[in-house]
Symmetry: C2
Subunit: 175 residues, 2 copies
């Protein structure tokens, strides 16, 4: 079964963006940009899921849509229909995953942000967690894991330093 | 100069206790209790700083005071004076550190909780961070890093898996 993978960077205090929605801290680590294996991960991705805030932020940050060639599903309470390869959806997480798994091959990348992570955590639907901890305390911002989902025990797979970044990999706990 | 060290465990989503102040998740990892090097660290400690909530929680959890022989300073807005080796204080963080460094040798352990961490982070007074990430998402609870302090860039020193626990070590960034 194609896996749902949360692949995301956050500050040590758990924010994916600062209090003004800025993500400058993701690029401020000194030295050459470390290779976190994103390209290899991205090659394995068949489709993407993100929230509407993330979708709009990606649009603002990039000149061209960076996920060309991969179907992308954007959760929205207002918008519907299709915008190129982007489909707006309000399906339940389980129903969306069923649709993606039957229509597309490859890993499903849960891009973020926190509200969408919370939505999928509420039903413990995330199979793998690749989290990149930046060496920053932001003191405030948009949390990766907003409060409000059941306790979830994970299984640690690996941990490594990549330059100043810490990569931690967890899998859903099966028992 | 004797270092102020934050040595603490938290869930992957950054909580030091769950929504009912429970810390059962700290003991629920499967297999033998992994050696996180606490004894060696504790031997190097000359004095402790903690908040009043943590102080009361330690008192409830332990039959006898577990930090016998080490001067302990407890932040309190109400209580003053001394209770055995425990001194209540409302000194500014900088003034308390000055007092500890002149009166006691050895590392100063910032035990927690979040409010006290925030107090010392407000002035970037923490020299070293030893954080033990448990393989748990709690979904709610008492945050290790409550919002409300300036952005603080740290310097990653090391990372390792200890059983299912991830140890990350950061130092204050100097430049």
């Amino acid at each position: 079964m194609d896996k749902l993978i949360l692949y995301i960077a956050c500050s040590l205090d758990g924010y994916i963006a600062d209090a003004t929605c800025g993500i400058g801290f993701l690029e401020e680590t000194p030295g050459p940009v470390p290779d976190t294996g994103f390209e290899q991960f991205y090659d394995s991705v068949g489709s993407l899921i993100m929230g509407n805030t993330t979708y709009r932020q990606v649009g603002e940050l990039a000149d061209t849509w960076p996920y060309e060639g991969k179907p992308c599903y954007v959760y929205s309470r207002r918008e519907t229909g299709q915008n190129g390869q982007v489909a707006f959806t309000s399906l339940s997480p389980a129903a969306l995953l069923e649709e993606l798994r039957s229509e597309h091959g490859g890993a499903i990348w849960l891009v973020g942000g926190g509200e969408i992570v919370q939505l999928f955590l509420a039903e413990n639907l995330i199979d793998e967690y690749y989290i990149y901890l930046m060496p920053d305390l932001l003191g405030d911002g948009l949390p990766l894991f907003p409060a409000g989902f059941p306790k979830t025990k994970l299984s640690l797979q690996s941990v490594q330093a990549i330059g100043q970044i810490v990569e931690v990999v967890y899998h859903k706990k099966t028992k």
